[in-house]
Symmetry: C2
Subunit: 186 residues, 2 copies
DNA sequence: GTCTATAATTTGATAGAC
DNA sequence: GTCTATCAAATTATAGAC
């Protein structure tokens, strides 16, 4: 975990919220500064460029996301329950925060992102897929690794898409309908 | 179909390409004008505000997308083949154009879109779901309507997510892995 | 750490000539 | 339909005082 001042954390909080609403171009130094209660120039002190800020937001988001899931090979938790945790993590994004998944929206505009931000976005998915692949492998020890990885990719894609559709149709039950009975089957 | 000058179509072409890369904030009048070979003020002649341009891009995108699919109740085409058409339509987005689905990227940032653009985005999904629900119902005439609609939502979500992951991981085979064997099962 | 001041650029938009 | 000219606002960013 990075050692950061509380102001820096506040900046990340606001930047994340704005990015999860309007994407990488959906947040600005000025607007962040206004909401945090400082001046735009002061934001540059904490994060020199917008690249740095965007990458920091993405990295913190990813760290928190995976921390909330816990280790994939926790033997005291059934793989079915870990899978449910995964689905719930995405569901909270809309149900509690009314926000898009940061890396879902960054991923959609990945071709226009500065390299460091694009890289953090890619890492989010790689780490999520790795985590989920382990869970799948635990649930189906006899299934080949590729099957588990394929299931992890498909499940993650469905989650991101479920967020988009749920928000576009303005109906949280859309997410539930899509993820209902999301089986652990490989 | 709307009657538009060829310049207006050119503008829409460029705007769509840019929007499918960087989202709603990813295109500007000036940059469009430069690429089309006119001045920014001339773009305003064809589309008074950015809302209008964004909404027009989304509407044309949706019309074309559905036109490429053809009617859902075409009895001369098996529902399985229509489903494959649906998947292929998304696949072409990355495989041929190397672009995101316009309404996938718009949907991700829907909370920050001007109302007219958000509405067109919503309509894209409603029309796609309606089309796909019919196809599903044809494939499973005895299954309840809700099952068909739920399958349509899930399939569409998976497509949008597959585009995001495929682009983020910079690997088209990710899309194929996710959509492989996408059954017509309800 | 935060500020003022300022620069350089981009953006959406309009008025009016041709 | 397209242009020039222009505007007001927003954006990223830096220099230097406190």
């Amino acid at each position: 975990m990075k050692n950061r001042s509380s102001k820096a954390e506040e900046i990340l909080d606001v930047a994340e919220r704005m990015a999860r609403t309007g994407g990488y171009n959906g947040f600005s130094f000025r607007e962040i500064a206004k909401r945090v209660g400082i001046k735009a120039a002061s934001v540059h002190y904490h994060f020199p460029g917008k690249d740095d800020l965007g990458a920091a937001v993405a990295r913190r988001y990813t760290d928190r996301f995976l921390a909330a899931l816990g280790p994939a090979d926790n033997d005291s938790v059934a793989p079915e329950d870990l899978l449910q945790r995964y689905v719930d993590a995405y569901r909270r994004s809309i149900a509690e925060d009314d926000l898009m998944c940061l890396c879902g929206i960054f991923g959609a505009e990945i071709a226009d992102l500065p390299a460091p931000v694009a890289e953090e976005t890619r890492l989010f998915f790689e780490r999520c897929i790795a985590w989920l692949t382990r869970v799948m492998s635990r649930a189906h020890p006899d299934a080949p690794q590729e099957k588990a990885a394929a299931a992890a990719l498909r499940l993650t894609a469905t989650m991101e898409g479920a967020l988009i559709l749920s928000r576009s149709l303005d109906d949280v039950t859309v997410f539930d309908g899509i993820t209902y009975g999301m089986s652990i089957a490989p």
